[in-house]
Symmetry: C2
Subunit: 579 residues, 2 copies
């Protein structure tokens, strides 16, 4: 079993390093962009191929950038589907997980004070000044509600007479825009802004999505929270830079905001990167991610795209082109330097009705209005990122991680698809429901960015969140805010997230610092940054890889984790011998 498991998981895009600009280097410098390779990139059966030239492309003689094969993926998937339903495997993994839980409880009772003692004699470092990364946050909700409110009021005081929007083809000033909405920013409050999730959003992802519209008005979302609008996304850029400046002041906090690429047309990338460069939306404390919403059905319904293949092409072709010939789109090339990974997002509780199999239509044949399944999306995103990364690695460019939303709701097959493909996932709540998958995530140490406050407003009450259970068993969990605008109250959303978890779950300082360390490890911070924040040996396993002076995680804890993991892996190894 272990071999299969390892073989399947080896598909994932691990060891992806990104390099941030060095000190003094201008992050927007286009001077030294690499030359055009003259290659041609084309999509075939939903996957990008790279050819030496057009002739090779016409004959489909692609360069050797092997991508995980479609049939192998389906085979592995079917194997795993059978595995997670297999009675004895379920019993075995359930018992092992139960054992892991009890073992940690014993460890805690025996070593709690010893761990604390280690931390007490560790100079300079405590929970406040160990690095922590907000591993999952959406740019459009990265400010808290009070921040957005203040920004709107301030923008009105300065820019009331500025043309900021186009209403039915007519250019209007901010004053006219607010008048058309029967609003005056002076009267606005957090209540009327109405972007905070409440009791009404529980189990209602649709209502939650509507909360992105300040005062329920999509015009205001356009004006303040979009990169593309009448003012070229200036306000949105300014808000993000304010958030970044707060993080820089806090010094030890980093965030990985997601920006959207939808795939409804091929120039989205150009527009987004132009916004990024124009407003110089750069901060050393932000690492950018691209989120792709799984909303083909909406685009097909509006006839934006003829088939699913076109959507994939819109998402990936521009990136391949900019990788082959960076100078053809300097802004995009610059932006891609700052992008660290891809995310796949949408309401997982919506059931697509489609089941990915070898008989499924190819993306170019997928022209029906129905959305493909989560697994189908995941495979094609993953395959394209894998090819792209090989190409970029060959060019010495930064590569991309694949970090989809997964297991927030919906079928457990989502977690299975991500298990096969993802560097790490966001949410992972539904691992609760499958002991086999939970145990596999443990064995392979796939990190999970959890957001219990977000779950509390949408899918699962706080006290029932499996965060504590996962952490105890040794799954690699981090804490993230998801959407401070909708969920948080204070000026420091990530600290609020840690504080509430610490209080409700009675986490020790060692627990909190372990979670913070996990967050840095699983983040897209560069290798250099990780060396600096976690210590020179951070890539080594076990206590050797931990520098307590940097992480404030007790070596006793690290040893416990390492021994426990080795023990479990060894059990399987021994089991295979006797087979």
């Amino acid at each position: 079993m272990l071999q299969t498991v390892c073989c399947i998981h080896i598909l994932c895009l691990s060891s992806v390093f990104t390099s941030p600009p060095k000190d003094g280097e201008d992050p927007f410098d286009t001077k030294d962009l690499p030359k055009n390779l003259g290659y041609v990139a084309r999509m075939k059966d939903g996957v990008m191929y790279v050819y030496n030239d057009a002739a090779a492309a016409d004959k489909h003689q692609p360069k050797d950038l092997p991508c995980p094969d479609y049939l192998t993926f389906i085979d592995d998937m079917n194997f795993l589907i059978a595995l997670i339903a297999q009675g004895p495997t379920k019993t075995y993994t359930h018992r092992r997980l139960k054992f892991l839980m009890s073992k940690f409880n014993v460890h805690e009772m025996l070593n709690d004070m010893e761990e604390l003692k280690e931390l007490k004699i560790n100079p300079h470092r405590d929970f406040y000044n160990c690095r922590k990364v907000d591993t999952h946050i959406h740019a459009a909700a990265c400010m808290n509600q009070k921040h957005l409110l203040r920004f709107i009021k301030r923008s009105y005081r300065v820019d009331a007479e500025r043309v900021v929007h186009s209403l039915k083809g007519r250019e209007v000033t901010m004053k006219e825009l607010f008048e058309s909405l029967n609003l005056h920013p002076y009267d606005l409050t957090v209540d009327s802004l109405d972007v905070h999730a409440g009791r009404q959003t529980f189990q209602r992802f649709d209502k939650f999505n509507a909360k992105y519209n300040p005062v329920g008005a999509s015009e205001l979302r356009d004006l303040y929270l979009k990169t593309e609008n009448h003012i070229s996304g200036e306000y949105f850029a300014t808000i993000i830079k304010e958030v970044a400046s707060d993080l820089e002041d806090a010094k030890y906090q980093y965030a990985e905001p997601r920006l959207s690429i939808y795939g409804s047309n091929p120039i989205e990338w150009t527009k987004l990167s132009s916004w990024f460069v124009k407003h110089r939306v750069f901060s050393p404390n932000l690492k950018w991610m691209i989120q792709v919403p799984r909303i083909y059905d909406i685009f097909r319904g509006r006839d934006f795209v003829p088939h699913f293949g076109k959507m994939l092409e819109n998402i990936f072709l521009p990136v391949f082109q900019a990788t082959i010939d960076p100078q053809s789109n300097p802004e995009l090339s610059i932006f891609l330097k700052h992008v660290t990974g891809f995310d796949s997002v949408d309401d997982e509780s919506k059931h697509s009705g489609h089941m990915f199999s070898s008989k499924s239509p190819k993306p170019e044949e997928w022209d029906i209005a129905k959305n493909p399944s989560y697994t189908y999306y995941i495979y094609y995103m993953y395959a394209n990122i894998a090819v792209l990364n090989q190409l970029r690695m060959q060019r010495g460019m930064n590569t991309f991680m694949f970090r989809p939303h997964c297991g927030e709701a919906g079928a457990i097959t989502h977690l299975l698809a991500a298990f096969m493909t993802a560097d790490n996932i966001s949410h992972g709540l539904n691992l609760k429901k499958s002991p086999v998958l939970q145990y596999l995530y443990f064995l392979t140490q796939i990190p999970i960015a959890m957001s219990p406050l977000s779950n509390n407003s949408l899918f699962l009450e706080y006290a029932k969140n499996p965060l504590l259970e996962f952490q105890k068993k040794g799954l690699v969990v981090s804490l993230s805010t998801d959407d401070p605008m909708q969920f948080h109250y204070t000026k420091e959303p990530l600290m609020e997230e840690y504080a509430i978890a610490a209080q409700v779950f009675k986490l020790s300082t060692c627990d909190m610092c372990e979670i913070a360390r996990n967050s840095v490890l699983q983040s897209s911070l560069s290798h250099e940054e990780k060396l600096h924040f976690l210590g020179q040996a951070y890539l080594k396993e076990g206590p050797e890889g931990n520098d307590i002076r940097k992480t404030n995680v007790a070596q006793i804890r690290m040893a416990y984790r390492y021994e426990t993991l080795c023990y479990e892996l060894n059990l399987i190894k021994e089991g295979l011998k006797t087979e």
Copy 2:
């Protein structure tokens, strides 16, 4: 029953108004202190009496400042003790409380959105800018752990060579002090500071009390968290002024810190007020309270006092004297202007073994080492404050509220004693255990300052806290931090307290604003401040008394509360008619 209840509760010191200094007035001005009345104050049987002169005192012909009579108190107490144990009363109140809960749930389901609508159309005001008071916080723990750590490091950078302490009679510099403790402040972290409550403090009030010692060293507690030390409490004053300055910046937050008077000797008041005046520890956002620890047994054990009466005299005689002749102790007179009430504090889970009855020794006869019961303490504090308030009211001086810690742990008789005497209480957790008392607190609307995060570290897990249940039933609850140094993580402890309650209990904005309004109402803010923060009619009952523009509490909610309370009171009235 109602008559008895009202009659008993009428003993409480309601309608106590304090006046803060007017704009431009110097809060430390001693110019216009009232003249000496020439009266004589003496203690007899544990209660202060005021006489026209020494001759009248010798003959015990006191002035007419009637205080709640000892025997009446015991009679009422015994009546209530019988009442809370009476089967039919328990059934009745249990059923009424259950009904109140269900009724609120129905109200919520029907009017949730209507309340929200009211708040949305209410301009300018939202949860962030409605006033909230931290109704229960101890001065010695009013800063958070990070703040204290920073202050210690900063003080060392500036004052290393300053003489700050006396070690075994020898004056030492700060550097020498830290050396004697084998510490260097540069290496200190939040972990080594070790003032935060953790899993180790649960059900261990003793361990919790030890957390007041930074790095476990009582020398550092002396230096940084005491009003009386080698540097005249300068650092403690500075820390408090920094906390005050943060509150002033936040603008909408107030706090009521407690300072200790122990009663071990008669000059404590003079020392404390001299600290207050010397360091000008004044802020419009702080309202001062005096806490009296119930630790007679310790003082008696060390022979600091010959009997309990002496302890009471040490606590009250100086205040009476400064009230009769303010110029005799100008600093104390100034300080008393800023004191708004008394608190009674200590570990309630310690059982004294004494039961207050008409046969109990008088305070002057209480010379055994054993501590008197909670009720005994409460009665004598209450009686003295009542006499004192009458005297001060006659002189046009500010009076004092009685706001003891009560029901955090221990016997439910504590809640019974406070029911008879207190303006409001801190904690009230144990109302969970007595439906009769809980219903009485509801009927009489005695406010309860709750601190669920403190409870979570000491006595009761967060999710089991009765805050939500009490709030739903219509008991008057507020949120308070108790000890930010021990319990909180963020820079804004009160906001952290509200945020966690909002998240865990899924409070609506209306709920949160109602709790904030309760906190202002029950606080010792002056009448003028309450007019300003709650509206001109705030003393009126029901929706009439609510100004939504100031409080952001929906009128629908206010109407619901008022109708519900009237209905319950009316039920009892009708019941009495048919008797």
